[in-house]
Symmetry: C2
Subunit: 164 residues, 2 copies
């Protein structure tokens, strides 16, 4: 497996998981949260496929392709370690879908960060809402969901907040 192979698997899994999660939550009205804008490719995908739900983007420093830069009033600027707790006050547990792709090249650091942000993400998700992540997350109250066809085990993770 080359780094190109792994990267393709990750991108393909991300798309499969997002498409699945968008469809599964299509009847929910709550906002969609994109944690980490990066180049803006998954944001562009969300924007294209999600209908009737606002999409908020959490990002420390916007550096996306101009073709997929979110409007200013939909961008929540700052470190997610601060902006996620603030978002609980603003949105409560209403998010229908949260996508996180916050990791970098250091797998150990990514895991550490996933442990740190998991408890900051969970309180934002509505009952029945889904969380899609490129890293394994550490949730108490959310349950892991089997991956859809086309996604590669270990390259993407899906979690659901039970409805009751």
């Amino acid at each position: 497996m080359t780094r190109l192979d792994m990267f393709i698997d990750r991108m393909v899994s991300q798309r499969a998981c997002l498409d699945f999660a968008i469809a599964e939550t299509a009847l929910m009205g709550g906002p969609v949260f994109e944690l980490g804008l990066g180049n803006g490719r998954t944001y562009d995908h969300l924007r294209d496929r999600v209908t009737g739900r606002p999409i908020y983007v959490f990002e420390r420093a916007v550096a996306s392709n101009p073709a997929s830069t979110p409007p200013e009033d939909m961008t929540i600027l700052g470190d997610v370690r601060e902006t996620l707790p603030q978002a609980v006050g603003r949105f409560g547990d209403t998010a229908s879908l949260i996508h996180a792709d916050l990791g970098g090249h250091n797998l150990a650091k990514n895991d550490e960060f996933a442990r740190l942000v998991s408890p900051l993400i969970a309180p934002l998700l509505a009952p029945g809402g889904l969380m899609v992540s490129s890293d394994r997350m550490y949730f108490d109250a959310l349950e892991q969901v089997p991956l859809p066809t086309g996604a590669v085990e270990g390259r993407c993770f899906i979690y659901r907040r039970p409805t009751a």
Copy 2:
């Protein structure tokens, strides 16, 4: 088609074209040239799949993932507009495979650059050698090769120097 869809198509096409070109030129002994290191994903792929041929990387400023950074003596540092003409003196027309992924986000600029570097690349290719590019190239003496299965039309281009 979202930017994520296009990106996946490009990566998948790149891999399909590289695998095809590596196999087609497997019996040739001449060096492989990677033009544009970037993150180093396609370099990592070449390094893994090419056997018995040296791989030289042409790059302006090395900023790859440490896991796929080429050795210093295999890196030809500088702007390809200067290093390619110099390489003709050093290598002659011996390259068995040249891969170019030099483009950025601006399609018009990429096309302009492809026109500029095409005549600098052609003199390096051995008879029967293949050139794989993310951009359409402008060659007089090379012929375009149909894409292999798995590659998406327009996302990748393959050219061959005829043997006679």
